[in-house]
């Protein structure tokens, strides 16, 4: 369990925030917001970005007739333009007790990644929704927009504390019922839910928008270094297992963990979720600036 929270240390420093202003979250699909924003929308609108033509019907605005085509073909076509809308980015941060455990500090690492992605989204004009969950969903701070909200986002993330046990499914189901349509949903979690994660991930399926999964594991979870006979107590439900750290047991754990991660990838693939596996021994800025860019999730 991580005991230190680096109290006083800001989650993101100014240099990183400056670099965030030059980045943007890249959606594989066009998302829709309520306001005209800086993101293209599937809805054909009134922006200057040409999208398509259609046949003229009575009542169409004659200003949108394509006279060039009429000159060549003597047929009336209406020019369609893509409507530029603002994008909703929902940051779903797992604040269960399991996130506050492990070495290096998984909770701080998760908040830093979340803060970084939120800051990038805000800097690029997206509307950011921060939602915290443990046993249930806790919407925090409403929606934020504009670079001025970055500081607020950071304050919110610094103030939030780990809560109860993990209940992915009810939390994400609650989120799904109130999520803005076609939003970019970024789930930051360790997926450590005894009830499983498949049904929960289905709730943030990328069918309507786009979803990312930042799967955070601590280094001590990825490569346990304990030795001897230990009693491992679950931080969330107080259950325990007695483990003798033999090479055979460690090998078995690695196999189970690899299978777990592979299962996560398969489920994400099934529900069109972009999985990103992160371990806490990799600095968050390296995660954001290198891993996500290499995965073409940042641009």
């Amino acid at each position: 369990m991580s005991a230190h929270d680096d109290v006083g240390e800001p989650l993101l420093d100014e240099d990183f925030l400056a670099r965030c202003s030059r980045l943007a979250l890249i959606s594989r699909s066009v998302v829709r917001g309520k306001l005209r924003g800086e993101r293209r929308s599937r809805r054909r609108g009134i922006s200057t970005e040409f999208a398509d033509h259609r046949d003229y019907v009575v009542g169409d605005d004659l200003r949108h007739l394509d006279w060039n085509i009429y000159g060549r073909l003597e047929k009336l076509f209406i020019k369609l333009f893509e409507e530029e809308e603002e994008r909703n980015v929902v940051l779903l941060l797992d604040a269960s007790r399991s996130m506050n455990c492990g070495e290096p500090d998984k909770w701080r690492h998760a908040r830093q990644v979340t803060a970084a992605l939120g800051a990038i989204a805000l800097a690029s004009g997206d509307r950011v929704h921060l939602r915290i969950f443990d046993r249930e969903l806790h919407p925090v701070g409403g929606s934020m927009r504009g670079t001025r909200s970055i500081l607020r986002l950071l304050q919110l993330l610094e103030q939030v504390k780990p809560g109860e046990a993990t209940a992915l499914l009810p939390s994400l189901r609650a989120h799904a019922s109130s999520a803005p349509p076609r939003a970019l949903q970024i789930l930051v979690t360790d997926l450590m839910d005894p009830a499983g994660f498949e049904d929960a991930l289905r709730q943030i399926s990328g069918g309507q928008g786009e979803s990312w999964l930042i799967h955070v594991l601590s280094q001590s979870e990825r490569n346990p270094s304990q030795t001897g006979d230990l009693r491992l107590r679950d931080i969330e439900n107080d259950s325990h297992v007695d483990v003798s750290f033999t090479s055979a047991v460690l090998d078995a754990y690695q196999r189970v963990l690899d299978n777990f991660c592979e299962e996560v990838r398969q489920v994400c693939n099934r529900y069109r979720i972009q999985p990103v596996e992160v371990t806490t021994d990799i600095p968050f800025d390296q995660v954001v600036l290198e891993m996500l860019r290499q995965r073409r999730l940042l641009g």
Binding site: C101, E221, R231, L232, R233, V241, S244, A252, V256
Partner: protein, 649 residues
């Protein structure tokens, strides 16, 4: 399998202790983890993939328990052989002969080491049966067959070395007799299987321990069917002592004494000393000094005046003393010789009567008619009856008979053919009757005689081809010598050997000798025939400090074993027909006088004929098939395996 220290099995209570420690040991350090879900799966996966992991984990416990059990079993000192070896009989023979009195270089008696060695054996045979046999002049069992170690140990502690000889063969026979009585008869097998086959011999489950310095007579008996383990004791080998003290009366009326003393250095180094001869406590001769080289025997002869009863003592005084003092003194009693009472039966015979007349210290009664001799009282009145050319059909009992020119039909019932001038083939020069005789005068000079054939109870002393010219006969309470020819038919009476023969024959038949008591060895029976009417008898020791009551046997026979005190003992008795204040007595010298015992050099091996003796304490214990060392080695091996398994998990 049997256990030497079964009390150690209580340590098996360590097994539950180990189990308790095992469960206490696995009190685990608690560590908080984000979730136990993956760990639960991992453990399940590990159990599925490595079903033996649990076994291996428990294997550590099993190995620990096994190591504890083996170590406890080793402490209990198991012996292989189960009931067979728990019933084994150990015959412990303890040498208590005179040589065991030798003083070793550490100042202790050799017997003390023997006693300690015997106690060690008893300690090592815990759980088995044993019997303790002490042997010196006699062999005797000191305990019954028992597995009571305390009884055996107490018996050993009470033993002291004797001054006697070594009755080793008797001790071995006694041990073998006990072993055979204790032997196990094989189980009966089906009758048809044994048809035509020899019955199985009894199985003797025994072994013999001999605690000795090896100064033993050789065993020439049957092969010994059980293991013999010799525990040698002693180191000192330098000793000198008197090995012979003998005397005889000179052939004279004065009865002068000729005394012979032999001193022997049985060690390897020269020993100087003085020899002194005392007659009735006074120096009889001047002290003689002599240095004896290693192994040298020195024989010294003394001529002493005195026809009465005397006590003789020889003393050898080695410079600085020696390891064994028992053989430095020896005693002899020269009693005043009693005249031999003789009845000369038969017609007058000048030559024979003249010969009898020159024999010193004889009283002769002449009886011409044999019927005048009362056979009932002959034994009381005469020591020897001399029959000349006449002999009754039944010789009187209890007295000696010297027969000339007649044939006792009790021994030679058949008529014997006449032989003229028989040639002498041989004669027994070692027989007491012929010791100083030269029989050349009768070789082919006897005119005619009837040589006696060999018959049961007879011994041929001088024989020709046809039979014996002189023969000895012995039967119950009947003894005699027959000269088959008439001395008047030979020139023998004219030869000096004739009176020598008569003198020796009379003294032999009269059983009087020259009055010289050469003595007994410690432990041998003192026997005095005091005659009828003895009411009380006792044995007084040489220092006159101890009196031992002696039982009076029928016929006035007094019999008691000589104890370990060397010197001149006195057998005293009272008769009913005498004043009760008067004790009659007889001196009995008790000596060591043994070249074997004086040669105290320890011998690591002993002569056992065909039997094989395991020599030394370093070997016999290996035959006990101790298993504790294997249990301990296995326990250590198990601990090593446990360590490896524990660290390879």
């Amino acid at each position: 399998m049997s256990w030497i220290a079964p009390a150690m099995l209580w340590f098996l209570l360590l097994v539950p202790a180990v189990l308790l420690l095992w469960f206490l040991k696995i009190r685990r350090t608690e560590t908080i983890v984000p979730s136990t879900v993956l760990w639960s799966r991992a453990l399940q996966d590990e159990r599925v993939r490595s079903p033996f992991q649990r076994l291996i984990r428990n294997l550590v416990l099993l190995l620990q328990l096994l190591a504890v059990i083996l170590a406890v079993l080793a402490l209990a000192r198991p012996e292989f052989g189960s009931t067979r070896y728990s019933s084994r009989l150990n015959l412990i023979l303890l040498d208590a002969s005179a040589s065991m009195n030798s003083i070793e270089r550490d100042g202790k008696k050799r017997f003390e080491e023997a006693r300690a060695r015997a106690l060690k054996i008893i300690d090592d045979i815990s759980g088995e049966r044993a019997v303790l046999i002490r042997f010196a002049t006699r062999a005797e069992t000191l305990t019954p067959v028992t597995s009571d170690l305390n009884l055996l140990s107490d018996a050993v502690r009470q033993q002291q070395p004797s001054s006697g000889l070594t009755a080793f063969p008797q001790a071995l026979e006694l041990a073998l007799s006990i072993a055979r009585q204790d032997s196990i008869v094989p189980a009966q097998v089906e009758e048809e299987d044994t048809t035509g086959e020899e019955a199985l011999a009894p199985q003797i489950d025994a072994r013999i321990f001999i605690v000795t310095d090896g100064v033993l007579p050789r065993w020439d008996g049957d092969p010994i069917p059980v293991p013999v383990i010799v525990e040698p004791v002693g180191e000192e080998s330098s000793n000198s002592g008197i090995v012979t003290l003998a005397a005889r009366r000179e052939f004279s009326d004065e009865g002068d004494l000729r005394v012979v003393v032999e001193v022997r250095n049985s060690g390897d180094d020269p020993i100087a000393g003085e020899l002194e001869l005392l007659l009735d406590g006074q120096a009889a001769q001047s002290t003689e000094r002599r240095t004896l080289e290693g192994g040298e025997r020195w024989t010294r002869s003394f001529a002493l005046k005195g026809s009465g009863s005397h006590q003789l003592e020889a003393r050898w005084k080695p410079e600085g003393g020696d390891a064994l003092s028992l053989d430095d003194r020896a005693w002899l009693v020269a009693a005043a010789p009693r005249p031999i009472r003789i009845a000369r039966v038969g017609a007058p015979n000048v030559l024979l009567d003249d010969a009898l007349a020159v024999i010193p210290s004889v009283e002769v009664e002449f009886i011409e008619d044999p019927a005048e001799l009362d056979p009932e009282t002959a034994a009381d009145e005469f020591d020897v009856v001399v029959w000349d050319r006449v002999v009754p059909d039944a010789l009187p009992l209890g007295t000696g008979h010297l027969v000339f020119g007649a044939r006792p039909i009790q021994f030679w019932p058949d008529e014997v053919p006449l032989v003229e001038q028989p040639r002498l083939v041989s004669w027994r020069r070692d027989d007491p009757a012929l010791r100083y005789c030269e029989l050349g005068p009768i070789d082919g000079t006897v005119i005619a005689t009837r040589p006696l054939p060999p018959m049961p109870g007879t011994t041929m002393l001088a024989e020709c081809r046809e039979g014996a010219l002189i023969a000895r006969f012995v039967a119950d309470d009947l003894r005699g010598i027959v000269v088959a020819f008439d001395v008047l038919d030979s020139p023998w009476p004219l030869s000096p050997s004739f009176p020598f023969f008569i003198d020796a024959a009379l003294r032999d038949l009269a059983r009087i000798g020259g009055g010289i008591e050469s003595g007994l060895h410690s432990g041998e029976l003192i026997e005095v025939v005091a005659g009828p009417g003895v009411t009380e008898a006792r044995l007084v020791n040489p220092t006159l400090e101890k009196e031992t009551e002696v039982p009076v046997l029928p016929g006035g026979v007094l019999r008691i074993p000589a104890d370990d005190e060397l010197g001149i003992h006195r057998m005293q008795w009272r008769r009913a027909d005498q004043d009760q204040g008067v004790w009659l007595d007889r001196w009995i010298p008790v000596n060591l006088l043994s070249p074997l015992e004086s040669s105290i050099e320890p011998r690591p091996s002993i002569g056992l004929a065909g039997a094989e003796a395991v020599s030394g304490s370093q070997n016999w214990s290996q035959g006990r098939r101790h298993l504790w060392i294997w249990f301990l080695a296995t326990a250590l091996l198990v601990m090593l395996v446990e360590w490896i398994v524990f660290h390879r998990r």
